[in-house]
């Protein structure tokens, strides 16, 4: 049981939560983007992008590849432009340490 708990903790959530530093950088890049908005982007990413394949880690692709994939996945996941933009800002923000 303890071993199981240890294994689970060791690899708990692999989809990073945005940090305050990442949020400050995001605000500079996209004025008005708050830490809360990035958190919502993460929740949207998990809700909208896990239905067909397992979630890809934000670190798995270059920013250019992510931009392209988001365009391709928008229709598949039936998300609005606003939702896509939230997910995009979250992914691009947490890619930077």
């Amino acid at each position: 049981m303890a071993a199981l708990a240890a294994v689970l903790c060791a690899c708990a959530g692999q989809i990073p939560s945005p940090t305050p530093l990442q949020a400050r950088r995001a605000t500079q890049q996209w004025p008005g983007t708050t830490l809360e908005a990035l958190r919502q982007g993460r929740a949207l990413y998990i809700a909208k992008c896990s239905g067909c394949h397992t979630l890809r880690l934000p670190s798995a692709y270059s920013p250019e590849r992510w931009e392209l994939m988001l365009e391709r996945m928008q229709q598949r996941s039936q998300i609005s432009d606003a939702e896509k933009e939230r997910i995009r800002r979250y992914i691009l923000s947490v890619k930077i340490e």
Partner: protein, 266 residues
């Protein structure tokens, strides 16, 4: 079979299909379609190898819809085509085929196998037939470790049978385990293990407990995916009461089970 394919094609043509990739065919994963996304999945299961001649194809056509985020519902049409030895005429084969009713599935996802420590979903399936009602509950756990995916299901299935002057309830408890490795994002291969325990009356022990294991492989492309498992029965955890000398239970289970599930996008 032709009818089945035609029905699949015509339904698929009207649905803006997508694809909840399945990496196993007996074991479910926790994923659910996002709100508004739909998909069509034809299933084929072939079961063969009993004490006396037996070969059966079970067909299912599944239509899935994401209702709201986290909650998915599906409708299944079920039918079968079988050939087996005629009990009244040993040595003679008889065929039988028929519609096995419709099933309604509800799946609710709580945790994600990548974003959370463990993926978790609850699953309910109701099957309505003229003389039978089936109810299946599953607890679905899964986890992705790097390029490996592990999934486990605990399944409880009471079954009621109604006939003139009698009704009967039987229980089926099932454990499903799937382990697979992603060699590329599109191709995965691994192992599935299925344990089925059948109980005829509440209170009495299991009539038998069988175990199946075998390879599973899955490939997902832009517009389609396909997953297949070949299971072979292994020596039973509890042998059949009717045939205790045989280490395999071949009176109401088969030596081989093969299942293929696919999805095509038009």
């Amino acid at each position: 079979m032709i009818l089945f394919l035609l029905a699949a094609l015509s339904l698929a043509a009207v649905s803006p299909g997508a694809a909840t990739e399945r990496r196993f065919t007996y074991t479910y994963e926790s994923g659910v379609l996002p709100a508004g996304v739909k998909e069509l999945e034809p299933w084929l299961t072939w079961r063969a190898g009993r004490t006396s001649y037996f070969s059966e194809f079970d067909y299912r056509l599944e239509y899935e819809v994401g209702l709201v985020d986290r909650l998915q519902t599906s409708l299944y049409l079920n039918w079968h085509q079988a050939t087996h030895e005629d009990p009244a005429n040993p040595g003679q084969k008889v065929g039988d085929q028929g519609f096995d009713g419709i099933s309604s599935e509800w799946k609710y996802k709580l945790w994600d196998p990548v974003a959370d420590a463990l993926g978790l979903a609850f699953y309910q399936e109701y099957t309505f037939q003229s003389d039978e009602f089936g109810w299946e509950s599953k607890l679905i756990l899964d986890k992705k470790f790097g390029d490996n995916l592990v999934a486990y299901n605990a399944v409880v299935e009471p079954e009621w049978e109604f006939g003139p002057g009698h009704s009967n309830i039987s229980w089926n408890l099932e454990n499903d385990l799937g382990l697979t490795h992603f060699f590329t994002p599109a191709f995965s291969a691994g192992l599935e293990v299925v344990n089925q325990n059948e109980k005829t009356h509440p209170g009495s022990g299991f009539t038998d407990s069988v175990i199946f294991a075998g390879p599973v492989a899955s490939y997902a492309h832009e517009n389609w995916w396909l997953t297949a498992t070949l299971l072979r029965q292994l020596p039973a955890l509890q042998r059949s009461v009717a045939n205790p000398q045989d280490s395999l239970v071949l009176d109401n289970h088969e030596k081989f089970n093969f299942r293929i599930i696919g999805s095509i996008r038009f």
